[in-house]
């Protein structure tokens, strides 16, 4: 755990908001990235970052000093994002699915270089992520981007081992289908 985090958490627990400010400033960008991948929209990601830190502050008493603050914060961030997405109107999810279906149907196949430089891969991956359920997305992102073990995912999301594994399996399979148009000649069969 970051030495500054240890001291800041101890002070923040006693109500020192300046200490908590240090934690917000140190970790808000990484939580934003997580939140953006979960929600797919900058304004939603900002709301999730805010929710995450407010919830973290309220739960500081539950934080165990031997744990890593960033990891603990990630867990809260994922759960805030899940709550946020569940509260989001269902029509938006439907729109996301429509877009994903449309994207998968279109067999646009520009060169990889073009895609990378245009940032299209990022957009397409983000759209593909939008086609996953909140639970699948959280489990996949925790495993893929944050290197969390299945056990850690179970603890964070309150899942049993098989449920966590199947969330990842479904997520990867959906990602393969959604990104198939980008795979060119290597498209899976």
């Amino acid at each position: 755990m970051h030495a500054d985090d240890v001291a800041a958490v101890a002070k923040a627990r006693d109500g020192d908001q300046d200490a908590f400010r240090g934690l917000v400033e140190r970790h808000s960008r990484s939580i934003y990235r997580l939140a953006y991948r979960m929600t797919g929209r900058p304004e939603d990601a900002e709301d999730v970052v805010q929710d995450t830190f407010v919830r973290a502050y309220r739960q500081l008493g539950r934080f165990e000093a031997r744990s890593n603050f960033a990891t603990w914060l990630y867990r809260i961030g994922f759960n805030c994002a899940i709550d946020y997405m569940r509260a989001r109107p269902k029509r938006e999810s439907a729109e996301t699915h429509d877009t994903l279906d449309q994207m998968t149907r279109e067999h646009v196949n520009p060169s990889m270089d073009d895609l990378v430089y245009a940032g299209e891969i990022g957009e397409r991956v983000q759209t593909a992520l939008g086609g996953l359920s909140a639970q699948e997305r959280a489990a996949f992102l925790m495993r893929h981007y944050h290197g969390c073990s299945i056990e850690e995912i179970c603890q964070s999301l309150g899942l049993k081992t098989n449920a966590a594994k199947h969330s990842i399996f479904r997520a990867v399979k959906k990602m393969r289908v959604a990104l198939k148009p980008l795979m060119g000649d290597k498209a899976c069969t």
Partner: protein, 265 residues
Amino acid sequence: MHVSEDDLILHFYGEAPADEQRIDEHLRSCPACQTAWMELTDTLKLVDAATPPEPGPGFERVMWARVQRELPSAPARQWSFRAMAPMTALAASLVAAVALGYAWIAHSQVAPAVVAPLHDAPTAIRTASTSVNPSKARERVLLTALGDHFAQTEVLLVELMNAPESGAGAEFEFERASADDLVASGRLYRETARQSGDLQLAQMLDDLESVLVEVARSPNKMTRKDFNSLRTRIDSNGLLFKVRAVTNQIHDRQQDLMTVSEGPL
């Protein structure tokens, strides 16, 4: 025999150490599985290539300003239902006592204007500033107790909403007991809210009660259908959102009340 796609995914993430050698050997000798493996790794590499956009400069400062507005004066001592189960009955009794005292104050109209609807907080606070200090002190106590009630309700709802679908069939003994306690204290608050004319709060407590009763009276092992039905009710009524909104309002009132009491009298 080919390696399944699920096993390949576990292999990619290093989650199948016992089978690692077997899978590696198979991949070297099986072109079909090798192709499937390449497709999987190519897809996941593509995912790696995607980086989310960075927020603009000054993001940290803006975010702190947003967060700070929502912070309580001090972080709450956190608990979980499982850890706090033995304390629940005592807490419920204290909450009930405070609520009854509050109801008595409101009913006897010693300081009627102090008890104002949450949505009319500024009026309540303006009036509170002209009230006698004991009434303000009672209101602070009530707000603290009410805040705890909603905080406990929020944790319970979050636990239910975040429980896996496979959680159906799991035991909910602690959640049931906690819901039972929250029903008891919630009824007192609802009655108090009605007597003091805060019909919005009363209605919300009523909505919450129907869900809490359902949890409290559920069998120790819920069926998947019942479990999903419960979550749908929580979700479709926006209960979690409402609970959080009221918690924020309570916090704001506490802050405002503190400001009033610290200001010139």
